[in-house]
């Protein structure tokens, strides 16, 4: 597994823990009220699990297993995937800042734009690797 995939998968597993921890608190709070502020963490719960866990894991595994090329670099435009990793995680925390930490719609909007940028960059990296064994 290449180094960048290792970072992405490790980050994804950390988000899985964060998302399940927040989710467990929310579910327990539904049954046995703990603190009303917990509901403000619902957007973070969704963001951690959908983007941080599922999307990031998919990107990490895709970077690893999509077909490589015989000639170097075997995974072209790797810097785009690295930038996607950085931007995706920045975007997640901007969204959480804009929702759960209530830093305003600016942070939320910036987070969504940055997440979009991450996905576009990852697409630029991966598009050429979606090929058959004959390279077509």
């Amino acid at each position: 597994m290449p180094r960048l995939s290792q970072w992405m998968v490790r980050a994804a597993l950390i988000y899985l823990l964060l998302g399940f921890t927040v989710g467990a608190l929310l579910l327990a709070h539904k049954g046995l009220p703990l603190h009303p502020i917990l509901w403000s963490w619902l957007p973070a719960h969704i963001e951690f699990l959908l983007l941080g866990w599922i999307v990031q894991l998919a990107m990490g595994v895709a970077f690893w297993i999509l077909p490589r090329f015989w000639e170097k670099p075997s995974r072209p435009r790797e810097n785009f995937a690295l930038a996607a990793f950085v931007l995706l995680n920045l975007g997640i925390w901007l969204v959480v800042a804009g929702t759960t930490f209530q830093l305003g719609r600016g942070a939320l909007l910036a987070g969504r734009v940055v997440e979009l940028g991450a996905v576009v960059l990852f697409g630029v990296h991966g598009w050429g690797r979606i090929v058959s064994r004959t390279g077509k």
Partner: protein, 143 residues
Amino acid sequence: MPVLTRWFLRSALLYLAAALLLGVVLALPGSVALPAFVRAMNPAYFHLFLVGWVTQMIFGVIYWMFPIITRAAPRGNERLGWASYLLLNSGLLLRVVGEPLAATRPQSGFGWLLALSAVLQWLAAVLFVFLAWPRIKDKYRGG
């Protein structure tokens, strides 16, 4: 494919079918008289889909496909994997039953079911991360 992966994947497929079936029921027009218990299952629908199907499918594939640790213990402590499987599924099923019960009968004291479900699912995730973490590595090359 390891036995544990087969259990994860088959369970995941059952949850997908269950989630979509529940989705059909919840989409019925308001003129159809559904028990309040069923109408309160909207969160259960999302979690059957995202925990029961997506996350469980990922767990099964990670356990199967990630680089092995050693030839002697290729996938680490298998008991951790089984514990994670049992905790995730018991926690999720408890939620599916407990959430509408607690919502429709708030005075009946079913809230503890949700707290127990939360603990079970959280433990499942912790155990799975513990199991998967050492396998995030380069390909095993012997030694």
